[in-house]
């Protein structure tokens, strides 16, 4: 594990420190100015905030300048991301495009696709969602049934996607679908298409979360025409394309920081002189958080393609998929440890409408606790993947 990483030498260079200060200052002033009431559990959608972040050059910041990027390092992006998460900044509008759509287009997209979407994403004006899961395809993603049929100049897509976060606000989404019948090898015949959500035949319906919030959707695709120039990468290579960049996606700070603001508020509750039990709990949370961050940071730095790269996509020669799965597995459980520590040390009743930040955060996080170990690869699927990697060399 982590054989390529020298943890002892891992530290933020002065440029990243400067960026960290800049982002902290930005968040302090911006969030106050927005008059925004933060919630935890799901990143919130705030178009104005996303535009303000874009003005600072922090969306698509690792991408080439000719597509609106800043050609900054993965480490810089890591710093921006973790600062946003630390204060529950409302990043949902640009989240998926910044993390996934952009890098996918840089690696597999055509020049025209990059020109059409990337600068608009980087300006904070164009939002993407992800169309992966289906009613009968959750962990078993290769079983997707949404299909595209060849027609002149493009494809006709029919099917249903679910758990599509923020599809009701996004402009487009990536759809993983079957472009040729299942021939026995289920990983073949899948493709990725860009479907713009205002296209005829697209219907978005809310799926309400158990606390009544609306961020999930189901998206129905009824014979939707997708022109040839919206095909991402190669027809039939969709599986390879969606699984090739999981390392960064799985190991980012969002895998262990979605309940972090509750930790901060817990510390405020505990005050300056905690009893032994509280001190021990706080110390243990800090230790786990720190070790997770060191691993996440190591992956971001190791996958950085370096300043000479034009591509802005992760270094292909390093395989950290297993390490990334470990970070997600442990990170998502750590998020729950924060909730339990807060719950057991403070003994307050969770109050969803409380004015008090701690009480509200506690309510938010308890309700959202089941989600993080399900989305982006369930704990059980990840552990099977990790074990296969461990046992493989023995065969």
């Amino acid at each position: 594990m982590f054989d390529q990483v020298d943890f002892s030498a891992l530290e933020l260079p002065p440029s990243a420190r400067a960026l960290q200060r800049e982002v902290r200052e930005f968040l302090r002033t911006e969030l106050a100015a927005l008059g925004f009431t933060p919630h935890l559990g799901h990143a919130e959608f705030h178009a104005d905030f996303t535009r303000r972040v874009a003005e600072r050059g922090w969306i698509g910041m690792t991408w080439p300048k000719r597509y609106g990027g800043q050609e900054r390092s993965y480490l810089d992006r890591f710093v921006v991301t973790e600062e946003m998460l630390a204060v529950a900044a409302p990043c949902a509008a640009h989240w998926f495009a910044d993390r996934q759509t952009g890098p996918s287009l840089l690696r597999y997209g055509t020049e025209a696709q990059r020109q059409r979407y990337l600068p608009a994403i980087a300006r904070g004006e164009y939002y993407f969602a992800l169309g992966m899961s289906e009613p009968n395809s959750g962990s078993d993603l290769a079983s997707v049934k949404t299909r595209a049929e060849r027609v002149p100049n493009g494809w006709r897509v029919t099917g249903q996607k679910v758990w599509t976060s923020w599809a009701h606000k996004a402009h487009a989404f990536f759809v993983l679908c079957r472009t040729s019948p299942d021939s026995g090898n289920r990983h073949e015949g899948l493709s990725q298409l860009i479907v713009e959500l205002d296209a005829p035949g697209v219907t978005v319906r809310p799926i309400r979360f158990m606390n009544g919030e609306h961020h999930f959707n189901e998206v129905f695709l009824d014979n939707v025409f997708v022109p040839d120039d919206r095909v991402v990468g190669e027809i039939g290579q969709g599986w390879k394309q969606v699984t090739s960049e999981l390392a960064l996606e799985r190991s980012g700070p969002e895998r262990y920081m979605t309940t972090f603001p509750l930790f901060t508020e817990l510390m405020r509750r505990l005050g300056g002189t905690p009893d032994t039990r509280a001190a021990e709990a706080a110390g243990k949370l800090a230790a786990r958080m720190w070790s997770l961050r060191r691993m996440s940071l190591a992956i971001a730095i190791t996958l950085d393609p370096g300043p000479d790269s034009e591509q802005g996509t992760p270094k292909a020669t390093v395989d950290l998929a297993t390490e990334a799965a470990l970070v997600k597995d442990m990170g998502t459980f750590f998020e729950r440890e924060i909730i339990d520590a807060a719950r057991l040390l403070a003994t307050v009743e969770p109050a969803p409408d409380a004015a008090d930040l701690f009480e509200r955060y506690l309510a938010d996080t308890i309700v959202c606790a089941p989600v993080s170990t399900i989305r982006g690869g369930t704990t059980q699927v990840l552990r099977n993947l990790i074990a296969r990697k461990l046992l493989d060399p023995l065969k």
């Binding site: 943890f7 800090a286 230790a287 442990m330 046992l391 023995l394």
Partner: protein, 357 residues
């Protein structure tokens, strides 16, 4: 940068070869009775491994603390029965006070917060104190102590022959001996004021760091054994590693090992750079002790009954893990200290502290 990592790579490769070639079942079994392996010590000392991270002009072999941590991780992985960490700690104390580093195995004291008093009588110092569970004391030629002198802390290199030593051991049968200094005489040339930043607190901190690093290595060993066993042991007509229940446990184990490695080596870097060092060491000792707890038990569960026998290799790693997690402060002790410091600093310092590497 390249030079540093090239040297590290060479060091790691040669240490791996050395331990792989020389540590074996017979040696580990004999060490349970003898307390160590003098043969292995000789080879390790000839390779100057205990002197890595001590400046050459102070009698060391050069290199950084992270270089030494890389070596100690491997020693932990092979459960090398020698006082490598202890000798390095002693070397650090001596070198920081510009005292000569004697040859042979060394150890340090106090490791449980006891006070050693020092008074000067003529040309000699006389040291007194009663010390619990000093690692490898009966093996060490010299015990390097931090003593309270009339004008502040002193570092003294005490000939072990001057001490009354009562053999005891830890779970892995490593010597953890009682030591009584009763006006033990030390010539003035072997005593010097402790340097800035060298005191019982930082000695404990370094000790905790080195135990964390060694635990990371021992955890790697336990994981290797568990994975290997899962791949060869058959039950119900198939390899037990093919059962998802076993796979899930191995995956959880791998996470614990990764977290231990990441935190121990990160803390070595923090101490080396003297940056947020106390915080990093506390985190590392807490996290590696937790990993030792989870990991050792998973390793045994995967092995079934064979793992708990004295003829199977697993116990060399797990007994050490269970011993080392307590030494220089266990996870509760460090967490309470850390939690108090964090609360005293206030909630708004939490995030800056976690990110101050």
């Amino acid at each position: 940068m390249n030079d540093v990592s090239d040297i590290r790579t060479m060091l790691v490769d040669s240490a791996t070869r050395l331990f792989a070639d020389h540590v074996n079942a017979k040696m580990l079994d004999a060490a349970k009775h003898d307390g160590w392996s003098s043969a292995l010590w000789k080879i390790v000392e000839d390779a100057q491994l205990p002197l890595v991270s001590i400046a050459e002009d102070a009698g060391g072999a050069g290199g950084s603390l992270s270089d030494f941590a890389a070596v100690l991780r491997i020693a932990g992985r092979y459960t090398a029965p020698i006082p490598l960490a202890e000798t390095a700690l002693a070397g650090w104390l001596l070198a920081s006070s510009r005292l000569a580093i004697p040859a042979g195995p060394l150890t340090v004291a106090p490791v449980h917060g006891e006070e050693i008093s020092a008074r000067k009588v003529g040309g000699h110092w006389k040291l007194s104190g009663s010390l619990q569970r000093v690692p490898f004391a009966r093996i060490a030629g010299h015990i390097v102590v931090l003593a309270a002198g009339p004008a502040g802390d002193l570092v003294a290199c005490v000939d072990a022959a001057q001490c009354e030593i009562t053999p005891e051991r830890n779970l892995a049968s490593e010597p953890r001996d009682g030591v009584v200094l009763a006006d033990a005489a030390v010539a003035a040339e072997f005593v010097a004021p402790a340097a800035g930043g060298v005191n019982p607190t930082t000695l404990r901190e370094r000790g905790a760091l080195l135990r964390s690093v060694a635990m990371a290595g021992a955890l790697e060993r336990a994981l290797e054994l568990a994975v290997g066993y899962a791949g060869e042991r058959s039950q119900f007509g198939r390899k037990i590693g093919q059962f998802q229940a076993i796979q899930q446990e191995l995956a959880r184990f791998a996470g614990e090992v990764a977290a231990a490695v990441a935190s121990a080596l990160s803390a070595a870097g923090a101490v080396e750079r003297a940056q947020n060092a106390t915080f990093a060491v506390a985190c590392a000792k807490i996290r590696t002790a937790q990993a030792a707890h989870e990991g050792a038990l998973i390793a045994h569960q995967v092995h079934g009954a064979i793992g708990v026998t004295d003829e199977y290799a697993l116990h060399h790693a797990t007994l050490r893990l269970w011993a080392w997690r307590e030494e220089f402060g266990n996870e509760a002790a460090w967490a309470i200290e850390l939690g108090r410091a964090m609360c005293a600093a206030g909630a708004d310092r939490l995030w800056p502290t976690l990110t101050a590497d």
